[in-house]
Amino acid sequence: MLKNKYFMLSVFFVVLFSCSEDNSTPDSSDNYNRVDLLSNLVNNIIIPSHQNFDDELGLFENSLNAFTDDRSLFNLEELQMQFVETYKAWQHIEMFNIGYAEEIYYASKMNIYPANVSRINENINSNNIDLDNNPNQFSAQGFPAIDYLLFGIAGDTNETILSIYTQDQQNNLTLNYLTILTQKMITNTDSVIDYWEQNKDDFINSSGNTSSSSLNMLANDFVYYYEKGLRANKIGIPAGVWSGEYPDKVEAYFKGDISKLLTLEALEACDKFFRGIHFNGQTDGEGLYDYLAYLDDTNYSDSSMFIGLQDDITSSFDNSVEKVNSLNDNFSTQILTENIKMLEAFDVIQQGVVRLKTNMLSILGISVDYYDADGD
């Protein structure tokens, strides 16, 4: 009888083993290469977009130097134009709030709006400001603060603004503050780029599936950005989705007519990141789109309702672009004249959030928590 038991046991293991043998060999080529995916995202999207931003920031610094030397209307307008270009480039990297960027609150220091105008005015006249460690100073630096300094500090015309900078040629406090903010943006950006350069190999090779592995962090941050940074900050909050309407809470409020431009830029950045399209050029590399296509081969009998999650997500991006395109260049104006269209745009972007947060995270197998679970 004892023999019988061991015989049955060995049969069980042989069956188990042989099944695994049979099945694994022919299909192993199907396996998705996550290192390729990460490598594409880092080398062809994250790092080039950071470098591009750094270049634009460098040009902004040049314009600022030119303006400092010669405070002409022409130089002010050059500086303003370069501000818009730099802000556009920023839309491509705000979503990568990972690693060192997260540690130093990079995104918060660059783009928390609305700007805290009274604090900015205080800072202009103070020589003891801690822009690095005081969270209260986040909304007094970065793009929103410079937006105020270049477009909103005095009157509606560039002449009145210029007058602020020409008052005291030798020691113009406003210009000093603008310079400090620019330097801060450059040093912060440089240190984030250094981080990426130094850690990219580790990052690419951390292809595990824990909550701290690279792909999961990127996917989580991407979803978080799409929901919070894009949907809520750019559209939802100013349009009063959560509470009253705040036309002054739009991005680039003082410049005014670029809030749509920046939102479209951000949507494009999300779409390209999701698809894995190289930052420079149109080469379509591996992205979440491709990974989902690999993971999501679930087909139900009722296939009419199933078009493939990856395409579902990109079409929701397309719908969002279309809807945002129909808005006024200046979201402030849009809110004040016909806010319903802002709310409609919010709803369309929301559809993307739903897909990303439920289907995509579900299929990627990313956990947001560390508790025991028995699969509900």
Partner: protein, 451 residues
């Protein structure tokens, strides 16, 4: 028939299995409590959240602030006493009450194996587990055989219901949700990049899991297959532990519990081993006297029968609700439905002040932890409880004539997400009860299932 029953009730057995079970059970609960505490979960699950999801009828069971730690200390201490067999009856009642209190504090953390621990500890109140190898035991008596069998019956119910629940088209025909889950387990050495990427594997594991659950209790009951079955138990639960590290204590509890199926001699060997370790082996041959009944000898079996009637009927209550069970989750808990669904949701709420027409969307992160928000988003009973909480909160904030509407989407086993809750229904106006929740929108697909 009655004669046979009364004959069975009077049948006695050596007390070894109950002693082994008592010691192991106490130890496992102690270990679970330490692990829970060590992971910081008391803090993050019970102290940090400002709002807790209650079970219907148990909204008075709440964390007690910093005193919540005392509940865990009480639970730990009672488990220690249970293990030692000291003041056993008081200890096991305390263990049952404190452990169950912990589980009732917040529905978010509901796990089937916590319910199993509660059920087992309740059952053990009626079993003479401390009549041997315990600080309590004075004279060596036998125990009624049914007391040992009742633990086996409990495990049989768990396995059988778990198995029957797996007979559904998602599990067997689509191999879901295992397909979704296993595909992303590519980091597991050797099998991760090979076996777990293979379509056949999902079907093998799905069918294997279903057959295992249904047949294992019977293979354990039958002496000729018992040893083989126990090896299967170990292989199966170790495998689940490797594949799903998040299932925590479940595999250990199940593997240990299955020892109960072995006969007296095996349990005696285990106890002899323990005696050897603690130098308590006096080498004398033991003689057991008949069990001394404190109460009417039919009273306790009657109580236990009622308990088992409950155990059999409760998992079937889902039949009384219309709609897809996995979608509505009406009657899903306390039914040994384990690892059956991959569900995720996205649910936000709009609060409307009908007197002024003002409305606001709620930022869930103001009231819920990430974990609570995730769980709430796809479970209707949590959605309505939270909606009522929001309604109350906004009333206090000065909203008059409040309505609460949900904007809710969910995905089940990889299907595209669809609207989950009727956005036109004022949830604040809907009652929280056991009646069918009509505001859950119908599931746009069909899952055929046995139960």
């Amino acid at each position: 028939m009655i004669q046979r029953i009364s004959k069975y009730i009077n049948k006695e057995s050596n007390p070894y299995p109950l002693a082994v079970y008592r010691i192991g059970f106490g130890l496992l609960v102690m270990f679970s409590i330490i692990r829970f505490w060590y992971n910081g979960w008391i803090e993050s699950l019970y102290l940090e959240p400002g709002f807790h999801f209650s079970f219907l009828g148990f909204s008075w069971v709440k964390p007690l602030g910093i005193y919540t730690y005392f509940i865990f200390i009480i639970c730990f201490t009672s488990a220690l006493f249970v293990m030692l067999g000291y003041k056993y009856r008081t200890a096991i009642i305390t263990l049952f009450l404190s452990f169950t209190y912990i589980e009732l504090m917040d529905k978010t953390t509901y796990l089937n194996h916590y319910y199993l621990v509660s059920s087992l500890s309740f059952l053990m109140i009626f079993l003479p587990c401390a009549s041997y190898f315990a600080l309590d035991s004075k004279n060596k008596t036998k125990v009624p055989k049914w007391t040992i069998d009742s633990l086996k019956l409990m495990l049989l119910i768990v396995y059988l219901y778990a198995g029957l629940a797996k007979i559904n088209s998602d599990w067997l025909i689509n191999a879901q949700p295992l397909k979704i889950w296993l595909k992303t387990k590519y980091t597991i050495p050797i099998i991760g990049e090979t076996l777990l990427q293979n379509n056949y594997t999902y079907y093998l594991f799905s069918w294997g899991g279903m057959l295992y659950d249904i047949f294992i209790p019977f293979l354990l009951l039958y002496s000729r297959t018992r040893f083989f079955a126990f090896i299967m138990v170990i292989v199966f639960h170790v495998l689940t532990r490797i594949l799903f590290p998040a299932i925590g204590m479940f595999p250990v509890i199940m593997i240990f519990s299955c020892i109960i199926f072995f006969d007296n001699s095996t349990h005696k060997k285990i106890l002899d081993l323990l005696k050897g370790i603690f130098n308590r082996d006096d080498g004398l041959k033991e003689v057991f006297t008949p069990y001394i009944h404190k109460y009417n000898r039919k009273l306790i079996p009657l109580f236990v029968s009622v308990f088992f009637l409950w155990q059999v009927l409760i998992p079937l209550r889902s039949i009384s609700y219309p709609g897809e069970l996995f979608w509505t989750e009406q009657g899903y808990r306390f039914s040994w439905r384990v690892m059956l669904i991959e569900k995720a949701g996205y649910t936000t709420f709009k609060i409307v002040d009908n007197s002024s027409g003002n409305s606001e969307l709620v930022d869930n992160s103001l009231y819920l932890t990430k974990f609570q928000e995730k769980q709430m988003s796809f479970q209707p009973d949590m959605i309505i409880e939270y909606a009522h909480y929001l309604g109350d909160t906004y009333k206090k904030k000065g909203f008059k004539d409040v309505s609460v509407y949900a904007e809710s989407y969910a995905t089940l086993n990889g299907r595209p997400s669809q609207r989950f809750i009727d956005p036109e229904v004022d949830l604040y106006n809907e009652k929280i009860n056991f009646k069918n929740k009509k505001w859950i929108l119908p599931f746009k697909d069909e899952i055929k299932s046995f139960l």
